[in-house]
Symmetry: D2
Subunit: 103 residues, 4 copies
Amino acid sequence: MRQLDEYMHDHPVTPRTRDEKDAVVNRLKRIEGQVRGIQKMVEEDRYCVDILVQISAINAALKKVGFSVAERHTKHCVSDAVQTGKGHEAIDELMEVLKQFSK
Amino acid sequence: MRQLDEYMHDHPVTPRTRDEKDAVVNRLKRIEGQVRGIQKMVEEDRYCVDILVQISAINAALKKVGFSVAERHTKHCVSDAVQTGKGHEAIDELMEVLKQFSK
Amino acid sequence: MRQLDEYMHDHPVTPRTRDEKDAVVNRLKRIEGQVRGIQKMVEEDRYCVDILVQISAINAALKKVGFSVAERHTKHCVSDAVQTGKGHEAIDELMEVLKQFSK
Amino acid sequence: MRQLDEYMHDHPVTPRTRDEKDAVVNRLKRIEGQVRGIQKMVEEDRYCVDILVQISAINAALKKVGFSVAERHTKHCVSDAVQTGKGHEAIDELMEVLKQFSK
């Protein structure tokens, strides 16, 4: 993995546009706010099940961000790797991280 | 579900101790910091796979918090409900939220 | 865990009725058939994505069976344990297996 | 999705070798046996938690098969699509099925 990682870092990847960055960061800011919201719920001794529902919602939101990052990664970095004959390494790496992700 | 919810809210549940609150809130603060960390990674155009690894780590941490909340809920609220003949409703509610959680 | 396990095995639990057994076994038979169906799809060189959709469907069906087993377990074995002062051990065991389950 | 699906079906994909088929089918046969094993456990009124542990094991085994199918799909079908300018459609389809999979 390290090897590909170095390969990837050595080769310029399509950098995210301002709009792309904003879209991801805004979603993460919303998630950050939700995490703060749960802290408040705990402090106020709110009903456990309501807290669990909120945690599930954050998990779902994080997975959504993750998949949008994975999609962009596959459309840019992995596709570039495929076209320069480095596809297998890039795909092994992608699958590895998606496995972790689906836990 | 509403019905049980009302039942639960009407009956005093064992409130969380200061230590219990601190333990959960501290874990959530750490998660909040991790979410902010990903925002920075996106801004700095860091490698997508590194970002995905971080998102997986947050998901795992959130699940851990969720299970500790669910465990306490079961040991207190659900157990109380069992002992006062309201067990089935409380267990249905618990299973419902854990299903959502395991997605 | 062993300790509780022995406790559980030593104490008579409400045995499943014929109907309860049939309901679970029938769902498992359907799942078994789906697993055989995928073997056929692989043999016939069917499109990978169609195979993946089928695998997802089986996973969802298995989770559903699992949650129905967990629900019954909580309504019977765990509730009995709560009422005889062995609740915490039974709940720890339940949470442990649900954690594995939500991976 | 249909559109790509048709595209994929119209274009010859690298068919699985006998060895590749055997590897997947053998894993699925083992899973089929495990599902039958659970039916027996239910019939014999075995302890619920032991049944749940088995169901978790099958879920994990199925995910493993799924990821190996997804990996092969990405290394062959998706990579071919990338090289013939159909990458985005193939990647959208892959992500869609992996999302379902990670539930």
